[in-house]
Symmetry: C2
Subunit: 186 residues, 2 copies
C-alpha cells in the first residue's frame, strides 16, 4: 500500500478547529505579564516560558502527527522543512523560512517574518532581557524530543529587540534511536 501523502500546511490549517488569533495573542500576553509579576526576574520568566512551551510541545506533536500525515522524516533537514512549512502553518497560520545550515546539517535557523504572538506588543525598558516568544522555542524542543531528537533552540534575532525578523537557531544535539516498548522475540 503506498504511503498516504503528507497534507499541506494550508490544507490542514483550513480543516482544523481554530480560535481568533487576537484572542490567542492577548491571552499569551496575559500569561507573560502574569509571569513577570509573579517571578520578577526576567531570566526566570524566560525559563518558565520555555518550560511551558516544552510541556505544550510534547502534547502538540500528537495532534501534528495525527492531522498532517507526515511520517518519519529521513533526516534533520527534512524535519526542519516540515516544521517551517507544515507545522507553523498548521498551528499559527504562518510559515517560516529555513536557512543558515551548518556544514554537518545539524544546525539551522527558522526565520519568521510574521509572528502572531507579538501583534501589538511593545516591551517596556524593564523587560529588555525578556525572550517574549520563548514559548515557541520550548514547543519545538518538546515536540522534537517526542520524535527522538534532542535539540537546543536559541533566539538569534527578535523583532521586539529591534531586529528585522524572528530567528531561532535549532541545533540537533543527539538523535536517540527509537526503542520499541517490547522486544521482537517476546
Amino acid at each position: 500500500m503506498p504511503p498516504v501523502a503528507p497534507r499541506s500546511g494550508d490544507a490542514i490549517f483550513a480543516s482544523v478547529d481554530r480560535v481568533n488569533a487576537e484572542l490567542f495573542t492577548l491571552t499569551y500576553g496575559a500569561i507573560v505579564r502574569q509571569l513577570i509579576t509573579d517571578l520578577e526576574e526576567v531570566e526566570e520568566v524566560n525559563k518558565q516560558l520555555d518550560q511551558m512551551g516544552y510541556n505544550i510541545g510534547i502534547r502538540l506533536i500528537d495532534e501534528f502527527l495525527a492531522k498532517s500525515n507526515v511520517s518519519r522524516c529521513v533526516d534533520f533537514r527534512e524535519t526542519a522543512d516540515v516544521i517551517a512549512k507544515v507545522a507553523f502553518k498548521m498551528f499559527l497560520g504562518v510559515t517560516a523560512t529555513v536557512t543558515n545550515w551548518d556544514a554537518e546539517g545539524t544546525t539551522c535557523s527558522l526565520v519568521l517574518e510574521d509572528n502572531p504572538l507579538v501583534d501589538f506588543v511593545e516591551l517596556p525598558d524593564t523587560c529588555q532581557g525578556l525572550y517574549y516568544c520563548n514559548i515557541l522555542s520550548g514547543v519545538i524542543r518538546g515536540a522534537l524530543e517526542m520524535v527522538s531528537m534532542k535539540t537546543e533552540v536559541t533566539w538569534i534575532r527578535d523583532m521586539l529587540r529591534g531586529d528585522d525578523a524572528f530567528e531561532m537557531q535549532v541545533k540537533l544535539l543527539k538523535q536517540v534511536p527509537e526503542e520499541y516498548p517490547y522486544k521482537d522475540d517476546e
Copy 2:
C-alpha cells in the same frame, strides 16, 4: 446614510486571523497549571484568571466593535444575544444560548455546550474548587465595562465539576451613562 448591517458571527469568524484551537487549549492549560504552581491557593488562581480575563476583555472589545459592525445595543437583552451569537462565535468559534432571564431583564445565563478551553482537561482532586474557565467570565466583565455596563459574572454550571453544560450568570449591576470627552458648547 443607513447603518451598516451587523455581520454574522460565522462571517466574521471566517474572515479574521485564526490559530489552531488545540494550541490555544494547551496554552491556556499551561497558564492554569502555572498559576496553580505559583499561587498554591485555588481561590487565588480563580481571582487571577478572572483578572487576566478582565484585562483581555477591555482590549478585545475594540476588535469586536471594529470587526462586527455591531453598534449600540438597545438594551441588556440585545447585548446578551450579541455576546452569545456573535462574540462567542467570532472569538472561540462556538455559540452560546441565552436563557434564565429574570423578570427585570437584568440577569440572564449564557450556556455553552461546546467549550474549546476544556478539551482534554480533567481536574485532579486537589483542584476541586477551581473555576477553570474563569478567564471567560473575566473577559465578558471587562468587555462590558468598556461599553458602560458594570456586571457580575458567576459560574452556575461547570462540566469539569460534573455538570451537563457550562453556564455563566451575567448580572447587570449598573449601566453608566456614556460621557462625552468634551461638552457640546465648548
